[in-house]
Symmetry: C2
Subunit: 330 residues, 2 copies
């Protein structure tokens, strides 16, 4: 029993044709005479031949593989992005090469550069500042960014972050809250946009926004930040968190501190992760259509790969999801 898989030459020999013919047959490149086609089919079946995608890629320069770099697969937002991107990729017969940079900035560049060499195109979510991102363009691969970037001439998809937090702030104002805090995540580029949205809304009402920072975009960081925010000198009536994970942690810790949500404190997040719905109380948030973002990013990339003109930026509309973690100011 032999081990090594059969090559195109084995098939050619078995079928009594040339390798060129086998190649064309495998690629459905043209039509064949009945007898040749029959022998080809038989030989391939017989040998269990499967063409070597590596050899093929080396020549064609295409691997039917797309790279996706994200910051942390544990974050349900990214999980959904991956889910969406993967679905579209599969549909078009592409395979996803996933790289999780683990929120580690130093790692990003080498990882992405290495990845770029093995794929036909990339979808990138990173914390790289626009002005340090020149090398991204030098990758010479079709690229789609998972955030808006005016500085980089790259197609991208994202949401209107300003509007997202504006909506949240408006919702809280409508509920009668006047003292509203924002618990952000400064490392994220979009943090500023989110601050701005909330602040603008409050300023229109003649109010100001107290800004705090969590040290990670995680539930754990939200827990850690809670006492600092709630037991400090400027205890807010409502808190807008950078994302749902932080909000979830914050709510849990608030409960531990004996603060009742939403009666004594309203809490909101952003992302609409699947588990906000099962939290205690269910989390009011803004849906940013993570899965759709992944789908669209992949679709754009595949379009670009197919030679269609690269699209510009696409923005998804945020949608407020009111649940039980916000209530009238009492």
């Amino acid at each position: 029993m032999k081990k090594l898989s059969p090559t195109i030459r084995d098939v050619a020999a078995a079928a009594g044709v040339s390798v060129a013919t086998v190649s064309k047959y495998m690629n459905g490149a043209q039509r064949f005479s009945a007898p040749v086609e029959a022998r080809l089919k038989a030989a391939i079946e017989e040998l269990g031949y499967r063409s070597n995608p590596l050899a093929r890629s080396m020549i064609t320069g295409r691997s039917r593989t797309i790279g996706l770099t994200i910051l942390d697969i544990s974050n349900p937002h990214f999980t959904n992005v991956v889910k969406g991107a993967n679905r579209v990729a599969l549909r078009h017969d592409y395979t996803l090469l996933l790289v999780d940079t683990d929120e580690n900035q130093a790692r990003e560049r080498p990882l992405i550069e290495a990845l770029a060499q093995r794929v036909d195109g990339l979808i990138v979510s990173s914390r790289i500042p626009d002005d340090e991102a020149q090398w991204l363009l030098d990758l010479d691969k079709p690229l789609v960014l998972l955030r808006r970037s005016d500085a980089l001439p790259l197609p991208s998809v994202g949401i209107d972050n300003r509007l997202a937090t504006y909506m949240l702030a408006r919702h809280l104002l409508n509920l009668g809250h006047r003292h509203i805090a924002y618990l952000g995540f400064g490392q994220a580029r979009i943090n500023d946009e989110r601050i701005r949205g909330a602040r603008e809304c409050l300023e229109e009402a003649g109010l100001t926004l107290d800004v705090y920072d969590a040290h990670a975009p995680t539930a754990h960081a939200g827990e850690d930040a809670c006492s600092r925010v709630m037991l400090g000198p400027r205890r807010p009536q409502a808190v807008i968190c950078y994302n749902d994970l932080i909000a979830l942690g914050f709510m849990k810790e608030a409960a531990s501190l004996g603060i009742r949500v939403p009666h004594e404190l309203s809490v909101t997040g952003v992302d609409n992760v699947p588990y906000g719905e099962y939290a205690a109380p269910a989390l009011t948030t803004v849906d940013i259509q993570s899965e759709k973002m992944g789908e669209l990013a992949m679709q754009k990339l595949i379009d670009a790969l197919a030679g269609h003109a690269a699209a510009g930026h696409s923005t998804f509309e945020p949608r407020l999801i009111v649940r039980e973690s916000t209530a009238a100011c009492g």
Copy 2:
């Protein structure tokens, strides 16, 4: 401004050496005379040369890529597996090729077969029955299974599912519950083991287990199943769910039905997903160390790739996490 990336030949020419020398230099295969090394370094820097991993792989037969197939990246259990596997892969300079089969059985085989051709080895989580899995062995690639399989001579990692639900049942018995139901997911192979564990424990106490089935391993399915279980003729005092997601959905729906958890009903899951902690009430569950499973699976595969004898099956010990969704029977 030229586009095509420089090849090893360009570097050789620029440095005035042979391609073999460049190749060896790139692979750090040996030492070089100072002048040659200097020229090499300069030429590479100058041209921005990066070796083509495809061409290299074709010869060496190694791609430093590992395939991981999972059923659904949205399930936090798998998310953690991916996280763990990715971490170990990165540490060893491997890249993860992720395939999410979307709980679609028909898709699995072609996807895995295609994946197998592009990677050095695979970690597989699938619903393929052991007796239909012969083709997995024919892949001729190092493989690690994410579940125990006595029928397949493959290394694997998993947990003691029997013990997991046994522990849960014991915990509920200790709390005084006598009428305990199991809400499973029949499609999963390990479902039977989980039923058995709970059943054995109850039988030792002279009790029987009522078994129900959710139609998916998701929170939504848990919600759907709730009324069927709780408003049927045999209303249980406690429910052991196949996994945390189902449990989370079940709890939420129970609340909607006016059933207070844990006072009127104890609910448990399995997996210890990150958000069970933030649910209402916090979910009692069994930790199965998903991330560690991913790490170990990857470690085993990398060891196998490095020529070390393939290990057999490794079992993680489940650990009961008591939170607030279980309480003394009242």
